[in-house]
Symmetry: C2
Subunit: 210 residues, 2 copies
């Protein structure tokens, strides 16, 4: 085993540390965030900082760095109050990754990568037509994390699309049936293979595969 | 495709919605959080709400529900200021899941599940000896999310253990070499298979596998 002290972490070269630290927490959600400015300019950006906050109401979080490419995403979400979350699958992961290139403000990552914007209900933000799992979100809170200058957005999920027959009887959505991917670090994409679902754990019961 | 409006999401039965909404964001980090109370009582709890906040300093977040089993975790972290994050692999995922059972406050999930507490450096919180990837964290900020009563903990990573030869030349830690798992929903565990790492994206370059 290899160990690193706080001091060793602090002394790492900046790019090396960014890649290393980003890998450490394990596999991550990876999503395309679709937005549109008030002037009508569409934007698409890949994020791996999604996290679940609660189911009732359905709330989720995203961490945004104000100083990098997704800043257009942040501007658009704050301006309009809405955004979409779109899952990756193996057919679009390269295009999804390409959205992280620093395109100019008047260029749309949809045009540049060949992904297709699509609109639904009254939501004023584009979904990715090629994505099988699509979520529509309304911004409900923005929290500035002064500790490192990042911003946390809390969104309420107000629209969901999932593939037919991907929902189990108890509400579980089978991400593997949808072909959804996971990522690690800043640039590694993975498919998955289920080991098992386990029954709700109780103190007097052994773990049980369901 | 199957669609759900905001109204349909609101009308779902509570348990069904919890399972459904928890599945929607995609695959998640899954970690065992090790803590110890000031009185010396050890605690271990499984979390799937880890997220990366920044690499310099190395900061990560966790969402904690104050009303469920991990409340001991929350108390201990606030009391002592320290906790550990330990990856799951296929050999321990059932024991890891079992830590979510509602054991009494004076029972240790280590004892109940057969996982082994171990201590390193000066960190006053137990690591899981069976875990290959282990992170030591110091609490740096606690934010109450009033919107649903959950609590966000921001930790600084101050110690890292990873398996030998799992770190690439650029700092990337290969989670598959460590056998780390991912989870979806509340109870589904998955192994992964890398599709590719992609080069840093640039506007004038096509996506490139590295």
């Amino acid at each position: 085993m290899q160990e690193f002290s706080n001091q060793q972490l602090l002394e790492m070269e900046a790019r090396y540390r960014a890649i290393f630290i980003n890998s450490l927490g394990g596999f991550k959600s990876v999503l395309l965030v679709g937005t549109r400015s008030q002037a009508g300019q569409e934007n698409l950006a890949i994020f791996s900082s999604f996290f679940h906050i609660g189911a009732n109401p359905a709330l989720c979080g995203l961490i945004v760095r104000p100083d990098v490419s997704p800043r257009h995403t942040l501007q658009n979400i704050v301006e309009t109050g809405f955004y979409t979350l779109n899952h990756l699958h193996e057919g679009i992961y390269q295009q999804a990754h390409q959205t992280s290139a620093r395109y100019a403000l008047d260029e749309s990552e949809f045009d540049k990568t060949g992904l297709t914007p699509t609109y639904k209900t009254d939501l004023p933000a584009p979904f990715v037509a090629e994505s099988r799992v699509q979520l529509g979100c309304e911004l409900v809170q923005k929290i500035d994390l002064e500790i490192n200058g990042t911003i946390m957005l809390i969104g309420k999920i107000i629209y969901v699309q999932v593939p037919d027959e991907s929902i189990a009887e108890d509400g579980f959505m089978d991400l593997e049936k949808a072909g959804s991917l996971t990522c690690s670090g800043l640039d590694s994409y993975h498919k998955t293979e289920r080991i098992a679902r386990l029954a709700y754990a109780k103190p007097d019961k052994s773990p049980t595969i369901i």
